[in-house]
Structures are given as C-alpha cells and as structure tokens.
C-alpha cells in the first residue's frame, strides 16, 4: 500500500522585512523594500504509513508547525512535493480537510459559547457524518473517557484539560485518516496528560488513524510513538525508530553516586580521574555519564572506589529526553 503521507524535498521560504532598530528605524521601515529570505523548512523528505504514530520533534522555531501547515494545505511549499492521501493538499484544501483532523494545543475549534454536544453535532453536519457513524463514534468515546459531564458544559467554562480532551474528540469525530496533534498536552497536569495519551493511543489502535504528534514532552513520545522525526532549523536531523535512537547515540548510562566530601571539589577530581566520562552534580547526586563503548560501568566504579568512599549509588538508563537534548545541542552546534 502506498504511504498515506509522502513528502519529497520540501522547502518553504518566507520573505521577511529586515527591521531596523529604534523610532528612526521604524520610520525607515515604512518605506523599506529590504527583505531577507528565511528558510523555515529546508529540503525535508519523509513518508508515513497508514496507522503510524509519528513523533515530530524539534526545538521551538524548528519548522515543525510550518511542515504541518503544508501537510494540511494551509501553506503552499516553495518547492518540493507533498501528497497526502493521494491529494496535493494546498490544491484541494477542502477535499483534504475531509480526511484530516487537527488539534492545536493552544487554540480550540469548538464553538466557545455552546456546550460540547452542540459542537459535535455541528461537526457532524459539516463533515456530513451519518447518524450511524456518529453514534458509533460517540459510544466508542464513552467507553474510553467519561464524557457525560463534558457534553453539556459550555466550552468557555471548561478547564484547559477538559477543553483539550474535547478538541481531540472533535478532531477524531469524522474518522479522519490522519490527525495532526500540535502540542496536545501543553500546560496540562500529570493525570490529564496520562488520560489524553491513553485516549490517543486507543483511538489510533481502534480506528487505525495515522497520528502526527508534535510535542516537547518526552513523556508523550515514550508513551505513544514508535517512530520519531527530529527537525531543527528546517533541516531533518533524524528519522527512525525510537529504539534505534538510543543505540544510534551510543549506549549511555548514568552512574549516580553519593560520596563523602565537598561536592564541587569531588566533581573536578572525578572528572580528572575518568576523563572519558562527563561528570556533573545536583543537590543529591554526583552523576557520571558513561558511554559504554568507551568504558565499562563496572570499571569506572572500581576505579572510583580506589580513591573514594562510596556511601550510596544507583544506575540509570539514559532517557529519551537526554538523547534528544543531545541531538538538539549537536544540531545547533
């Protein structure tokens, strides 16, 4: 089967006026034709299969939202080709819209003054969902989350978490082939985040919906995505399995130690003793990041034991968050 989203060599450039400083500069800008070209997305290619959940990651301003806007058809790429579900999105926006759903974490598509159930009914008519499909979807929702109390609550009276949950339900309502979730868990508490992750996962499994998820929360990535794509400054840095990611960047483990003595001096001292590892400290622990390709954890431990009295220790696997941080840092370096 052909991939549901195919992106080939896509570039998007924006023309931005060069702004000058100060009042005088602002006045000059009124007449200025001095534009610079900003490349928000730079030769990005990827293809996504039906039913995948892809984590689309990158620091702020990396070009994630621009890519998503091109996939949804709001923006036209400057060059390159995008095919979503066999359509060129910006040429057939209305047709494309019928097959996609979107959630932008900070905005809502629901009717502000009306209870949720009215918004759902509106979407039912707008997307021309049959009564049967609508009822089926609603009973699926009932089995996944407790929507009864939400249905009759006006959207403007909802908490951010309830509203995001409602927005996700609204985006999946017409059973789209693809749903774009742009930072869906932003600003939510831990239990609401968990609820939303479970919901997204269940809907993906039940309806085989392709999900493109952008987020800064590695909890979302760990809970949902098998595959991640990382982009920075418009360029693609990584596109592969999440498991592969950790191996790709070496097998790092963090050795956490509690020693007797002043922490700052110890950090310096240990760094000298084992120069192949990077040493840092926080309130409680001294952390030694060990690259297992270069040194064995047990070796490091025994070397340290010769000089220091170890009061307590623990070993941590590196988290996705650490790996991604490393990619961002190397990407920008």
């Amino acid at each position: 089967m052909a991939p549901i989203i195919q992106i080939q060599n896509v570039t998007k450039e924006f023309k931005v006026l060069n702004r000058r400083e100060g009042l005088k500069g602002s006045l000059k800008d009124l007449f200025s034709r001095d534009y610079k070209i900003v490349r928000a997305v730079d030769h990005v290619s990827m293809s996504i299969e039906q039913g995948e959940i892809v984590g689309y990651l990158g620091p702020n301003g990396a070009g994630k939202s621009t890519t998503i806007k091109m996939m949804t058809g709001v923006l036209e790429p400057s060059s390159g080709e995008i095919l979503v579900n066999g359509n060129v999105p910006y040429k057939n926006r209305a047709k494309n819209a019928q097959e996609i759903g979107v959630v932008f974490g900070q905005r809502t598509q629901l009717w502000w003054a009306l209870p949720l159930v009215e918004s759902l009914k509106l979407l039912k008519d707008i997307y021309q969902i049959s009564d049967k499909d609508y009822d089926e979807m609603l009973s699926l929702y009932r089995s996944l989350v407790d929507i009864e109390e939400l249905l009759h609550k006006p959207v403007r009276q909802m908490s951010l978490g309830q509203r995001t949950l409602s927005d996700i339900l609204a985006a999946f309502l017409h059973n789209p082939k693809i749903v774009f979730l742009d930072e869906p868990t932003i600003g939510l508490d831990v239990s609401m985040k968990a609820k939303i992750r479970t919901l997204i996962h269940a809907l993906n499994q039940k309806k085989k919906t392709t999900v493109i998820l952008t987020t800064h929360d590695m909890g979302d990535v760990d809970a949902l995505c098998q595959r991640i794509v990382i982009i920075d400054k418009g360029k693609m840095l990584y596109d592969n399995d999440i498991e592969h990611l950790k191996r790709f960047f070496g097998s790092y483990r963090t050795l956490k130690l509690r020693l007797s003595g002043s922490r700052d001096e110890l950090v310096e001292q240990i760094q000298k003793e084992i120069p192949e590892c990077s040493v840092s400290s926080d309130e409680e622990w001294i952390s030694v990041l060990v690259d297992e390709e270069k040194a064995k954890v047990m070796d490091v431990l025994s070397r340290l034991q010769q000089h220091h009295k170890i009061r307590d220790m623990k070993l941590e696997e590196i988290s996705t968050e650490d790996v991604i941080k490393k990619i961002y840092e190397e990407g920008t370096a």
Binding site: E118, D125, I126, Q128
Partner: protein
C-alpha cells in the same frame, strides 16, 4: 450541494447570539442614544432651513429613513473584518481554513445566525414601532416584497465588501484603522448616515456609480416608496444584482490570490 452543511452553522449562530443577552441589550440602548442624537440634529437642520421640505424630504421622511437605516445597520454590520482580522493575528484562522468547505462560505454561514436574531430583535421591532407611530406613512404592499429582495442582495454586497477588506488584513496584519475607514466610507456613501438626496450633485453622480448605495439607500427607498414605478424598481434591483455578481467575483478572486501569499502566525 448539501444545504444542511451550511444551515447548521446558521443554527449555531442563532444559539450563540442568544447566549449573550446582555450584549443585545447594550446594543439596543446604544442605538437608542444614537437615534436621540439624530432626532435633535435633524430637527436643528430643518429649523435652520426654514422650510418644511428640504431636498424633497420632510423632517419625518428623513427621520423615518434614518431610524430604519440604523435598524438595518444593526443587522447588516457583521464585524467580519474584526473577526477575520483577529483570527489572522492570533493564527486561529488555520482551524477555520481546515473546515471542509470554502472559507468565504464558512464565514458567511457562521454569521448568518446573527442576521436572523438581529432581524427579529432589532429590525422588526423598530420597523413596527416606526410604522405604528407614523400611521400610514409606510404602506404595506408590494414594497415589502421588493424590500426583502433588496435586503437579501444588500447583505451579499455588504459581505463581499467586508470580505475584501478582511483580505487586505492578510497583508497588513493590522485591523483597526482599515476597519474604521471601511465603516466610514460604507456608511457615508451608502446613505446610511445622511440620505443620498442631501448630497451635492457631483457627489451624487459619483455615488450612483459605486456599489455602496445598493446596501442602504436602495432597500430603504424601495420600502418607503408607497407608489413605486415598475421601471424604477426594476432598475434598482438590477443594479443591485449587477453589484452582487461583481463584488462576489472580486472578493473571491482577491481571496484566492491572497491566500497563497499568507504566512500564518503563531507556533
């Protein structure tokens, strides 16, 4: 075309506007204050003129005209420019663009609900009060039918103008000045603030070649003329139809061209 796709938006608009009772009340009070100002202003104008009839209109003709123009404004002014402008600035427009229908239609039908409520809550009561108070100045005949037809076309022309101005906001990303300018131009040249009969001859000629008079002047004239000449009615309605088509085409094309240039704000 599946009509339900659109009428459901009308229904939502009606429900939404009914949610804000207080705001409707404030609008009614505001209009009342405006009408008081209009009353005294024109009373003074007629007093200083020293004649009963100025430019072919008596004081009561003028007053009825302006009261009804205000009521008409209450339901024709849609604040489309504000809303589209704001959603461009905040980036919310993306969500509306991603509805499976043309944006221009989506916005129109979203506003259609407030037409309905405004028609019943401001225009109709005002009209009935004016008709009752002026006892027989307004005739109830075919002129009502012509009026309804003319208002439907006026709504379309007005929406197209608003949509064109909103499209300009895509480029400027600022709304306030543009919207105020639009409002002043439309209200003045359409005859909503001053009846067109009071305009000096050169301006009158210019205005007759512009689309604005079709918005307020034409429907009100058709309503207030108790003894309509078929030729005048046909000319007026045909002129309106001409502008409906022209403005729709222009606003659609301008939007289509502009949308390709947009950069959508935010995240």
């Amino acid at each position: 075309m599946n009509l339900k796709k659109y009428t459901t938006l009308t229904r939502a608009g009606i429900m939404e506007s009914l949610q804000f009772r207080l705001s409707s009340l404030v609008i009614v009070v505001g209009n009342l204050l405006y009408l008081i100002v209009v009353y005294f202003l024109w009373k003074a104008i007629y007093a200083s003129a020293g004649t009963e009839v100025v430019n072919g209109m008596t004081f009561y003709d003028t007053l009825i005209y302006l009261v009804l123009a205000t009521a008409l404004f209450g339901f024709m002014e849609m604040y489309v420019v504000w809303d589209i402008g704001r959603s461009i600035q905040s980036g919310k427009i993306v969500l509306d663009l991603l509805k499976p229908m043309e944006y221009r239609k989506y916005m129109f039908w979203s506003y259609s609900g407030s037409f309905v409520t405004q028609f019943f809550f401001t225009f109709l009561p005002t009209f009935l009060v004016v008709a009752a108070v002026t006892k027989g100045t307004i005739s109830f005949g075919f002129n009502l039918l012509f009026f309804v037809l003319a208002v439907a076309m006026a709504v379309s022309i007005n929406y197209s103008i608003d949509f064109i101005v909103a499209t300009i906001c895509l480029y400027t990303e600022s709304i306030w000045g543009i919207n105020i300018m639009k409002q002043v131009i439309v209200l003045l040249l359409s005859g909503a603030t001053i009846p067109l009969a009071f305009f000096p001859e050169p301006l009158h000629t210019i205005v007759s070649y512009l689309p604005f008079q079709s918005i307020y002047h034409t429907p009100l004239m058709l309503l207030l003329d108790g003894n309509p000449q078929p030729k005048d009615v046909v000319t007026a309605l045909c002129t309106q139809l001409f502008w409906v088509i022209v403005m729709t085409v222009i606003s659609k094309l301008f939007w289509k061209v502009s949308l390709r240039q947009i950069t959508v704000n935010g995240g």
